[in-house]
Symmetry: D2
Subunit: 471 residues, 4 copies
Amino acid sequence: MTQVMVPSLLDRIKGLAKSWLDVAGSAKGCEALNFAPDLSDDDLACLRGQMQACLDGKGGEVSARARAAALGREYLSLSTEGRRRFLKLAADEFGPDSHAVDQAMEALRQAPADKRALAEQRLRQVLEPPRLTLLTQFNALPEGVKFLVDMRAELAVLAKGDAGLRALEADLKGLLAAWFDVGFLELRRLTWASPANVLEKLIHYEAVHAIHGWDDLKNRLDSDRRLYGFFHPRMPDEPLIFVEVALVQGMSGDIHQLLDLNAPPGNPEAADTAIFYSINNAQRGLNGISFGNFLIKRVVEELTREFKSLKTFATLSPLPGFRPWLEAKLGTGEPGLLTGPEHRALAQISNGLAAKGSLKTLLADPAWIDDSHLAETLRAPLSRLAARYLAEERKGADRAIDPVAHFHLSNGARIERLNWLADTSAKGLAQSCGLMVNYLYKLDDIETNHEAYAGRGKVVISQGVKALLKG
Amino acid sequence: MTQVMVPSLLDRIKGLAKSWLDVAGSAKGCEALNFAPDLSDDDLACLRGQMQACLDGKGGEVSARARAAALGREYLSLSTEGRRRFLKLAADEFGPDSHAVDQAMEALRQAPADKRALAEQRLRQVLEPPRLTLLTQFNALPEGVKFLVDMRAELAVLAKGDAGLRALEADLKGLLAAWFDVGFLELRRLTWASPANVLEKLIHYEAVHAIHGWDDLKNRLDSDRRLYGFFHPRMPDEPLIFVEVALVQGMSGDIHQLLDLNAPPGNPEAADTAIFYSINNAQRGLNGISFGNFLIKRVVEELTREFKSLKTFATLSPLPGFRPWLEAKLGTGEPGLLTGPEHRALAQISNGLAAKGSLKTLLADPAWIDDSHLAETLRAPLSRLAARYLAEERKGADRAIDPVAHFHLSNGARIERLNWLADTSAKGLAQSCGLMVNYLYKLDDIETNHEAYAGRGKVVISQGVKALLKG
Amino acid sequence: MTQVMVPSLLDRIKGLAKSWLDVAGSAKGCEALNFAPDLSDDDLACLRGQMQACLDGKGGEVSARARAAALGREYLSLSTEGRRRFLKLAADEFGPDSHAVDQAMEALRQAPADKRALAEQRLRQVLEPPRLTLLTQFNALPEGVKFLVDMRAELAVLAKGDAGLRALEADLKGLLAAWFDVGFLELRRLTWASPANVLEKLIHYEAVHAIHGWDDLKNRLDSDRRLYGFFHPRMPDEPLIFVEVALVQGMSGDIHQLLDLNAPPGNPEAADTAIFYSINNAQRGLNGISFGNFLIKRVVEELTREFKSLKTFATLSPLPGFRPWLEAKLGTGEPGLLTGPEHRALAQISNGLAAKGSLKTLLADPAWIDDSHLAETLRAPLSRLAARYLAEERKGADRAIDPVAHFHLSNGARIERLNWLADTSAKGLAQSCGLMVNYLYKLDDIETNHEAYAGRGKVVISQGVKALLKG
Amino acid sequence: MTQVMVPSLLDRIKGLAKSWLDVAGSAKGCEALNFAPDLSDDDLACLRGQMQACLDGKGGEVSARARAAALGREYLSLSTEGRRRFLKLAADEFGPDSHAVDQAMEALRQAPADKRALAEQRLRQVLEPPRLTLLTQFNALPEGVKFLVDMRAELAVLAKGDAGLRALEADLKGLLAAWFDVGFLELRRLTWASPANVLEKLIHYEAVHAIHGWDDLKNRLDSDRRLYGFFHPRMPDEPLIFVEVALVQGMSGDIHQLLDLNAPPGNPEAADTAIFYSINNAQRGLNGISFGNFLIKRVVEELTREFKSLKTFATLSPLPGFRPWLEAKLGTGEPGLLTGPEHRALAQISNGLAAKGSLKTLLADPAWIDDSHLAETLRAPLSRLAARYLAEERKGADRAIDPVAHFHLSNGARIERLNWLADTSAKGLAQSCGLMVNYLYKLDDIETNHEAYAGRGKVVISQGVKALLKG
């Protein structure tokens, strides 16, 4: 497997051709910056002055942007501690003007009904912190948008337990949410003719079923596959989210078949089913700003247009929290977790084993997968429990406990089929006991399913899954 | 002159190929919309329901966007009164939750110092009105960004005297300011090889020196000219602001020469001066979101790169408020407005005239331009007064009274030269008494000039203009 | 009407950025060229030397190309006489080596059967004249392909009566035929969003129904129209041939309706018929290298893909030689040209006229079109004679006498319908007595129709036209 | 190392979207083709009919092309023997019309002087074989140009000893030479942002210094490297020739340093030297149609424009025939091949060896490279002999015996420096005894050097190489 080293943003920004900022680079004082990695107190004082100069628009707006860009470059060369101090400075010293806020609150309190909207609007403006302007000015960097996305990813870690940094993080989220409105995103199909530097990032970002080098990648871009991602016009080399699709006959229930490098490509014109077998969010800095729902529907539309014979759109998904949930249940010894017949079957199978038929012990050794008799015995209880885990277990009142299930159910899919021994990789066993699930996107039912789940937490399942639940 | 009819946005949106929204167009209830142009009360009730459904995300986010797009199409087909009612509904009924605002204000008031940032942030979130979400959802329209820009232009008119609509307009401005951050704009050079539908808009939007049809336009794109504009990636056919540049030898002082269709093109490689002879903001809906400063500096950079021999960057600009200002002064009869010698010279010239040498009367008849002796006599007093108007007259404490002067002085230019009989068109006489002015952009002085003007209202002028002021 | 002045090739080549040729511009001696417009004898001697140096590859291939490019620039600045002498020199002095040709002919004569192919191949190579290499080298000019196309257009005129120049013209045709193989051409749809400099050329090249300025052009690019052209990758701004299509309901029989600027656009989705109402070859230098057949079929395919409801593909075409043919017939007084009833009807109509019912005299005054009774009386005989002209008159054994008819019949179309008063413009009356014809392209019959016409000169006509012929 | 499997042309052509040919695919009879891989006699008869139909333009030109495309697809599915028979049929049965050729020869013989040019032209036309039209028609295939290039590569092998096939191969070469005129080629820089399917082909085609997978490739596209290729507009994914360049300080003399994956990238702005370290022709089917000369000069120009500090342009090249030449010399025992001192030095070194100081024996064991004393002793004689081999050995009268030397000397370079132990890979030892040579491209001398070598076979060498020659 080729190891993919994506060049750091700092390298890329440094490597870029000199930009128009350099012409405006007269921005005095910026050249002198040469901070210690951890930011000394003197550095902080200087930084404070530079931030203030950015906000004052000293030398004009163009110079202010140039100055902000210089600060941005400096930020990238700092240590984690230096970055924390940099952000803390922005968070704490460039917040809203308290006095103005108090005045605007007072004005709002006294506003007559027909002026209240305006008073609210003004309070909102006064609350807009100068640090937000500063963040916006970083957009002047050659890869300014990526810079801010990455900054938010760092901030999410640094802000733990620090109210000021959490406020800054929330500011940044608001800014990014406006910029990354789905209306600005471009759906792009990636193929083997796409730029290598973009394809390389798929290898880097794929977290569901790791891509093992360029041959594996090429296989996933073959004629019976499709790969789509959303991109932002100012981050053209960076997928925000991407989905991998296989065009097949019948609903796939085995991920190994789909990823087999030696399997000949199928005929996409003859396919009746599109299987979404991997969906990845690529930018941690965009957490909480969601596009997955849009992506799936756009891709369904693209596929429908290209292939007239496609009838079924479904996923082949892991159950990432199933095994941990099951272990916890087994730990608490919930009565009735296994049915009587299941108990008996397990007891029999494990006569020769030390664990005396404990499901927990049986699963502890991943070799169970190689013992076909044992595996067959485990099939019924694990399938039934997986169905229960997906369809009945809740986080809070009405949210499916499994995050992948929650995502697809929110989007209006239904739980269609559980597939036994569908992913027998180490990860597949550790997370999902080897099971995978198909979520079905039936266009006519999407709105109804969504409303049922979003409004009442009702999970829509197929007859087959219902049968499983009954055991 | 060809009359240019730019197709309305509604036509364009209707004309566009069916988008992905149609797939999601299952959004129930949308098809039924068929509002009266002025919006009946029943329509308003239905509209209220649809807006609420958009905000509730009924049927999922994709459906909500589809529903918003349907509302947007409906909006475009309304009359002015219908649109006012549409916007008023959004403004008044989809504001922030008053109760939540009051609570958040209370929480802020009681927040300890180290939690204040977070409390402010939360108050700001609570103040974010649902109508802003609705505006954002219109981005789903095929030309959603242009839709919102145009909506703001309309809102600016409709909001006069209506606090609710003014708040909505302010919301929209905030949204557009984020989306149109200069970091997202693309500088494009337009040439005769650019798309006709974009070039057509230059004819439409040029407001300084009207473009008289396609031949005139082609002449302004000749080999010794440059035309640059900023564009937004989601409004690729719409210039936001554009500047027309002539590459010449020596600083131009006559707009007629520059626009002469019969003049042979000069050799741009031999030019030492770039004259910015027309700058136009094209989108009224982006008022108050400024890019002019950035545009000029980006263009200076582009030109510097392309033509090594360019040494001087200057404008050839009108004085749009000079004549009105002068008339006002003449009306109030300010003593000492004219010097003694000027008085005497005018008195002589006008012996045969009824007006007895009144500057006011002389100017009233635009035929003065054709009487060379009269014109020569007017030169000295008008030039001196124009210099005073530009360099000394103030709006408030420290802002030049002339809007064009204010723009260039803010950008760091200096007032370089006044040009007599530089624009003798009817408009040139009516606004500027035939005068034009060169603002000089000297790269090394831009920051200092800006600081002097922005900080202290100090206007930087050349020796020549100083001499004029002294008379 | 805007007059369109397309810049000359010389201007464009001069105006282009310095090319790589200038780096290689070391090509010694080239700078010194400064020929008299008519080429003096000294110039000819110098030119001979330069051509020889090109062919010898002096200084290497790159230098030879640079030298050829310099000669090309020189050619463009010559007068017609100078160009004739330039071409004559190339034609006469850079032909094949006669001695080598004689030897190769002898070798071919003596070649055994199994070596004959090779001997032929060698003779062909020996016959390849050095002047052809020279022509090829002009491809190094920035717009070298357009240069050669235009050169051939000039050569076609100059070569009249000069065997040497005719041979050169034939060489050039062979070269261009290879380069412009239809496999290299790009079909491009032109829209109002196409580059203005390309659209301008449509105005320039349209010869069937003149385009009266940009408004007329825009109208022909409206939503219910399509305009397609073939382009060569090395002449991206120059259409080779283009076709204008209207998407309508029912087969159009009136060109004025189609070109009416005030008519609202139809709904293309509802159209059942595509009318090809103007086809223009744009490059005289490509005469005899045909793409029209390919263009029509590619466009039919594109339209079929875009609009599912299109069922009929037909032209609306002039009969450019009808009136001249008719005049000639009337001149020779062919007996039976008019039927008895036609004679009588005409005789009646013209009682009050000097011409005593002579068809010739009646047509001579174009005002006949305004006399509805007269026009109605002319309808039957002119329609019948037009049908005869199209369907029965021959040039040689089996070629339709009308060039437009020949073109469409060769392509496999059939003569579908004659349209009375379909083009009442001055040109329409002068060429076609106001008639126009629909040629119908029925996909299933194209091959058979083509074979019938190409093989046996058989013209396929509709029942309606058959009825007309019978009178 | 990743194994790169480029999909076969057949797969690509099959995989392509249905083209316009399918619309015209009415071409009757084509569907029925289903030849045996080796072509049976029946298949041949059918094929003969189809070829004739193509040439007759049966059903019109569009159908003829569709028919040719079908034959092309058929060709791709044949075995080598089938292909030979296919080509043989075209070569032998679709040659020029012998009778017409004889007549045209007779006409030429009798032509008066002023008609000779035309008679020659006509003979040339008559000699143009129908099979050439057939080849041209294959251009209708989706990747028709690549098809013909590959066909010529196959033909070069099959034609050995077959005069008919050799004639066909010559026809095809002429056609490709016209199509691949350098004026049609595009210089493209390839970077890590280029399409993966194009980059993959670099791995496939690189034959000088094999690219060991994607990491190696990425390293060769780093910021201090450049990779340029020529492309044809109709073969956009296929480099025709490409060159790899390193931007360094001082003239490189060690290929291992240049290719070291662990070396940090240099600063290209500071580089004074561009080293062309690998040039590859990628298409065997274009043998004899040369672009290398043009490529090097275009790249020099591009680099000069991008990097102002570059002063030196040189190659780092192998001596691919040195070791074989040396072995041959050693075999014939040429007296005086080694100087006396060289003999003595070798004799000493090899006291302990069986071979008694024979250069031949010493070289036979590649381990000599690891014995630093031995290597040092070999340095002087091998360097001197390599200089002699490059600068003095001739193939024929005036062509350098080394093919790489011949290429660069023809282009006007001079032999600048020999580098000892510059390529100690197995291939480097086997071909070049570990030596590499720098050819220097000095812009001012290129024409003179070319003329000296092309005209008189004079090789230009540096003082350093002169000194080596003297020993």
